[in-house]
Symmetry: C2
Subunit: 193 residues, 2 copies
DNA sequence: GCTTCCATGTAATAGGTTACATGATTTG
DNA sequence: CAAATCATGTAACCTATTACATGGAAGC
């Protein structure tokens, strides 16, 4: 069956009641943010189905000027389903990076574009790290704390690699020698400009 | 437009002619293996479409006892399309990990299952690393060498974290005190069984 | 003798995203 | 006054996966 949005929702609800809206937030900004995501378009139908299957229930809170808020709770059957789902073997991690694909072809790019991409990636990593720091306190279990620390370790390693090795693909390109008007930031004594 | 299977194929073909079959292999085992993948069901239609668009051409090699082998080559228009595709801004990396999701709920698992998952993950990472070592020589450009080294750095960091910190979630579980018949591998003096 | 490798391709299905529809309230 | 936040939900779309169809040759 593997882990789909339904199971992800059960996971969230196992730690406390929440509405669909709140759950989307939690996936984006919470402790699962760095390795899972889900949009409203998948969460709401998932909750409907979980309700039909008896794995969650909800209480409807009337609100002024907004749709009623449905606060979902996991049922005992839901807990069982969660436990069953995490008792199997996980599928291989899936990592998809357009950044790395593009950088693979750095030789076909203008040098400024290479630098721009690296800069952008480093910024993104830093933002990632900041977000991880933000949710640090939210880790309520040992499992979550472990996963959080794992995320930090990987982000730190990525950041370190990028900052320490970017010079390897910046500076003069050997295959497409282009007239560089600006002096490269890294003096690059090996290039002998 | 972003990077889809079509652009990925153009990327591969920019470094040499190949058949659809060979391209799938290349995605799985080659230098892109750790951050991209594609199945036959997406590659073959993509090549058909690329042909229609004039971005690739193919030569048909008659073979005995097998379908003719179609060896694809990138065209000049294809090269332009590739360059255009890598000139934009990449989408955010997508990382999806069922392993981390499951481990988040380590507290709900039998201790042996936690250990099994970690063992499995470490094995997988080692296999990853071995595969990266295998393709080391295939990196023909600086870009590819950089991406390859990046992959190694991340895998090494993951592996290091897992081996050094697994004890944090192994051993006695504080929330579900279960009668443990087998003595835990890590004596866990803090649990005071 | 069974499995894996070679080699292409299609059809059914799954699983999601994006955009839309609706609309008051709070924040800048 | 505009934008973001709260709040749910649907419909159209996209992209890719899985399984199937076909079949000889080579390795174990």
């Amino acid at each position: 069956m593997a882990i789909d949005v339904r199971i992800m929702c059960l996971g969230l609800l196992s730690e406390g009641d929440a509405s669909g809206y709140e759950m989307q937030k939690a996936f984006k900004e919470g402790p699962f943010g760095h390795f899972l995501e889900a949009s409203y378009g998948s969460i709401y139908p998932a909750l409907t189905r979980l309700t039909d299957e008896g794995l969650v229930t909800y209480a409807e809170l009337a609100q002024e000027g907004r749709p009623d808020k449905k606060v979902y709770s996991i049922t005992e059957a839901g807990r069982q389903a969660l436990i069953e789902a995490i008792s199997g073997n996980p599928l291989d991690d899936k990592y998809r990076s357009e950044f790395l694909f593009m950088i693979s072809f750095a030789d076909l790019m203008a040098p400024e574009h290479v630098s721009r991409l690296i800069d952008w990636k480093i910024e993104q990593m830093k933002a990632n790290k900041a977000r991880l720091d933000d949710v640090q306190g939210e880790a309520s279990t040992r499992g979550q704390a472990f996963v959080h620390a794992y995320g930090r370790a990987v982000v730190d390693a990525s950041l370190k690699f990028l900052t320490e090795n970017r010079a390897l693909i910046e500076g003069a390109s050997p295959s497409i020698p282009e007239a560089s008007e600006k002096a490269p930031q890294t003096p690059a004594s090996m290039a002998g400009e």
